[in-house]
Symmetry: C2
Subunit: 282 residues, 2 copies
């Protein structure tokens, strides 16, 4: 990333610009700001196809770190479960085509009417395990991502880093399975420092967002790092101490604030926050 100077360790997720802006509109502001890494949101890619997405990235000089969000594999009905696996297979092919090293996978929540959270967890682990050979064949790693308990019902029964480490060990495929951690999802966890240490060598992605003290929405009111209660430098330090050398990835689900702004403005602020997080102390 030498052509991106001091921003070489910064990745901005496409979703930080909201749901409306298309793939190109999420890529060009990064190029203009000198940000060379992005995480691709699959809904945006799907609208134009992987070949065109790959071309936009190449033309912009922006590389895809990962494709999000894969997984979502908690369906009880066999037909729906198989459809979800198939969706993941297509995503793995898309990830390979855009040159993303990882596909970030979330577990999925509870089916409508489902109250058996143990079943949902077993199902997700079963589905993720089935994807291992296909991920290996595609040359794309699966990054298991725990989500905040806030979204347990609807998005992620994988709620803790401890369970993520358990799953990583159960999957027994260290060449192709890793872990993605997000400050927003893990900060409240009393065991987080031990679990980050346990995840040494497994961490593929580090997502950053802050928990706003006056959070107004369960999913779409994340704050820019520095605007909330999370000790983000502390979490980065703990992850770095495991040997992780990857970029800092800004992932802002912020319908109530940042999504309402122009992407160029959001990128400019992300760059400022990134510099604050990475500049050496005076």
């Amino acid at each position: 990333m030498s052509n991106h100077g001091d921003l070489g360790g910064l990745c901005v997720h496409q979703i930080s610009f909201g749901l409306e802006h298309d793939f190109a509109a999420c890529t060009e502001p990064l190029a203009r700001a000198g940000v060379g890494l992005t995480a691709v949101w699959h809904d945006k890619l799907a609208k134009i196809g992987a070949a065109r997405a790959a071309r936009i990235l190449r033309d912009s000089g922006v590389a895809a770190v990962s494709l999000c969000p894969g997984g979502i594999l908690t369906q009880r009905a066999e037909t729906e479960f198989r459809a979800a696996l198939e969706r993941n297979r297509r995503m793995l092919a898309d990830a390979a085509e855009i040159g993303a090293a990882t596909m970030v996978t979330i577990s999925g929540g509870l089916d409508e009417g489902e109250r058996d959270i143990r079943f949902a967890r077993d199902r997700a682990l079963e589905g993720l395990t089935r994807l291992v050979p296909e991920a290996r064949a595609a040359g794309v790693k699966l990054a298991l991502e725990p989500l905040s308990p806030v979204t347990c019902a609807t998005r992620g029964v994988l709620t803790t880093t401890a369970l993520t480490n358990d799953w990583w060990e159960a999957m027994d495929a260290p060449d192709v399975v890793g872990i993605a951690l997000d400050s927003y999802a893990i900060w409240w966890d009393p065991g987080i420092m031990d679990q980050i240490a346990r995840a040494a060598g497994r961490i593929l992605n580090l997502h950053l967002a802050d928990w706003r003290r006056d959070t107004r929405d369960l999913r779409f009111d994340r704050g820019m790092p520095g605007d909330g209660v999370i000790d983000i430098p502390g979490l980065i330090g703990a992850v770095r101490a495991t040997g992780f050398t990857g970029p800092l990835e800004f992932e802002l689900f912020s319908a109530l604030d940042w999504w309402q702004r122009a992407p160029d403005e959001t990128v400019a602020e992300i760059v400022r926050r990134y510099r604050t997080l990475t500049e050496p102390p005076a």
Copy 2:
């Protein structure tokens, strides 16, 4: 509770009727419905004083199981921390005066500007430990209650049952310290069944509310048991298996639904849900 027939194992928290109804208005509907147990909300008690509260309870034939919410002891400033301890001392006296066996304590969240969650946790444990001799003298037990990570920033850095068990052990006062569990706070926890088993003999209160799939508010949109995603019978069964014989306590923070209804209507529905939870299978 023989005078309350088959509702003898039901407790309804005053807060289930919302913030507006006063102490008497939260007690009389219970008496009318034949519910003999309540959990007192301290804000309501404070408006009329403990002596008058005790008289209303006695006249209604409704007994106080607990006083809520004590604790909230994460203040960094010494003066504020001491004021919080003092508030708890007054609450212990109030709890004794209304004949409540326990004061439910939550840890408190993060001070404005605070990002050191470890400090906040240490502080709360320090404060709770300081209250032990006073609780013992008052003849009121402290029930440590973990809250959902959803309210970690503002209400409860004590986010897991594992940490609650750790604190219980660290406090080393089994005669006067116990644990309060709430289905709403613990259902997402992958380790919950093990931690409930570990809490055998420590559980003083069991609060019930459901997590609505389409939860619209971080704190005030709890569902009636049966209206959400939680396997509440499973959690009750696990708690009962530890030897817990206390009542089932309905605690509905529901500004968007139940708080807008008349208390008599809410009680009637609680009684129906309670019967569903306790009737033997056909």
